[in-house]
């Protein structure tokens, strides 16, 4: 009944109850009473176990208040005297408060670094070839086929085509820009960066990478060591992939901060 009271570490109620039970037991002469006594013992021992657990956590002397104080110190809290209209009593937390904790925290984790944008495509098949196959499949769709595969194929096609179309569109833009000014290659960053959208910028870089991979555009460094891009001047077929425009792999990283 008086569970909470018994659990409180300051209380000796449990001990008192046990002592009382002991005294009573001496007077017992019937089996029924002994059974009751046994029942009581079970209850008492359960309570005892819980009480011991509570005691355990008190004895480990971990004080969360002090921990919090020390964390605030780590964060660089400015413990100035509270002013009249101060909304935060006790001090002012700097902007990088949590970054400071995070910096320390990383030392204690074996976290896989998050992979940021990588230049390059995940598809191993050249998009051009695949599209041809899909066009053929489209033509033969008149034949009897199961509904499911046809639907799935359709979804994949639109995904493929969307990328393909974007790439073509960008090639078109590049060529147009270049027509107007044939001798000046365009600054790569001017070409891909969308001042209003980081995501769009990344997408642009992704599409440009297709052009480069397929040999339709070239990227090189100009005199200022800045990357510039230009469409490849028409060469004999077959030379594109193996010519002096040797293919190199470049990994470009662009963080949101850098983009800003």
């Amino acid at each position: 009944e008086n569970r909470e009271e018994m659990l409180s570490s300051k209380s000796n109620r449990l001990t008192e109850a046990l002592e009382e039970a002991n005294k009573l037991f001496e007077k017992v002469c019937r089996a029924r009473e002994a059974a009751l006594d046994a029942q009581f013992l079970v209850l008492a021992s359960n309570l005892g176990k819980e009480k011991a657990n509570e005691l355990h956590s008190e004895m480990t002397s971990f004080d969360s208040a002090t921990f919090a104080e020390d964390l605030l110190t780590l964060m660089g809290i400015n413990r100035i005297e509270a002013e009249e209209n101060d909304s935060e009593p006790g001090g002012f937390l700097p902007r990088d408060a949590w970054q400071k904790v995070g910096e320390e925290a990383l030392k204690y984790f074996r976290r896989a670094p998050t992979f940021h944008y990588m230049l390059g495509s995940f598809k191993s098949d050249p998009p051009v070839a695949k599209q041809r196959i899909e066009r053929q499949k489209k033509a033969s769709r008149g034949e009897a086929k199961q509904i499911m595969p046809a639907q799935l194929k359709k979804m994949e096609e639109s995904h493929e085509e969307a990328t393909e179309k974007e790439v073509e569109r960008i090639l078109g833009i590049l060529q147009t820009l270049f027509e107007n000014d044939p001798d000046t290659p365009i600054s790569f960053f001017d070409f891909v960066i969308d001042p209003n959208s980081f995501a769009r910028t990344v997408e642009n870089m992704f599409h440009v990478s297709f052009l480069i991979r397929d040999g339709l555009a070239e990227l090189r460094l100009d005199d200022d060591k800045l990357p510039v891009i230009e469409p490849t001047k028409s060469r004999k077929v077959g030379e594109e992939n193996r010519g002096p425009g040797a293919r190199k792999q470049v990994v470009m990283s662009l963080t949101q901060e850098e983009w800003k």
Partner: protein, 196 residues
């Protein structure tokens, strides 16, 4: 290919399901699944120093962790990530030091001292309650279970399987010790538990 898939999927730190791997990458090579996965694991280990760990044997989901010992400061890491890790380590520390499980009321009461409040938008964390109870849980850093027979319902917060993989009780105790400028042995029972 699987390697690239895993690296990109890992960005959000949500465990990667085997079903996704099969559907998106392995596809027709289903039968060689085990071979492919272990091959990918080898490449991840040797080239990137990353370990592919099966975090849920029933659902067959995996996470990537670093197999290199924790390097010193200056991890290449975005500010947002650092801030979240800061909050996370504070929560994990609190849970461990308090005996490996805490009631939600106790945790949020503690976080209040650090100017983090469940109902409010936090300047840095935004919807902090969502971050803790949803994102951290989905990433398997925390495990939140309802306490039976409680009305109004209360929850127990514990370490999740990813936390157990990426860090250890000993590491967290060392963090607490560092913050408080004390020797980890100061907390005897936690120290015993951590070094058992």
């Amino acid at each position: 290919e699987l390697v690239q898939f895993l690296l990109v999927k890992d960005q959000k730190k949500i465990p990667i399901k085997r079903a996704d791997m099969l559907k998106n990458v392995i596809r027709e090579y289903r039968d060689a699944y085990m071979e492919i996965v272990s091959q990918a694991g080898r490449i991840l280990q040797e080239t990137f120093g990353l370990q592919l760990v099966e975090i849920d044997p029933k659902l067959h989901s995996y996470i990537l962790i670093s197999s290199l010992p924790c390097a010193e400061a200056n991890h290449p890491c975005r500010a947002k990530e650092k801030e979240k890790m800061g909050l996370l380590i504070v929560i994990l520390s609190f849970i461990f030091m308090k005996g490996n499980a805490v009631k939600d009321s106790a945790l949020w009461e503690f976080l209040r001292w650090l100017r983090v409040h469940p109902g409010e938008q936090h300047e840095i964390f935004g919807d902090v309650q969502k971050l803790v109870t949803e994102e951290f849980v989905r990433q398997k850093y925390l495990k939140i279970t309802p306490i039976p027979l409680m009305d109004p319902p209360q929850f127990s917060y514990q370490w999740g399987p990813r936390a157990a993989q990426e860090t250890s009780k000993e590491d967290i105790l060392n963090f607490v010790a560092k913050v408080q400028g004390k020797n980890p042995k100061f907390w005897t029972s936690q120290h015993n538990e951590a070094t058992a």
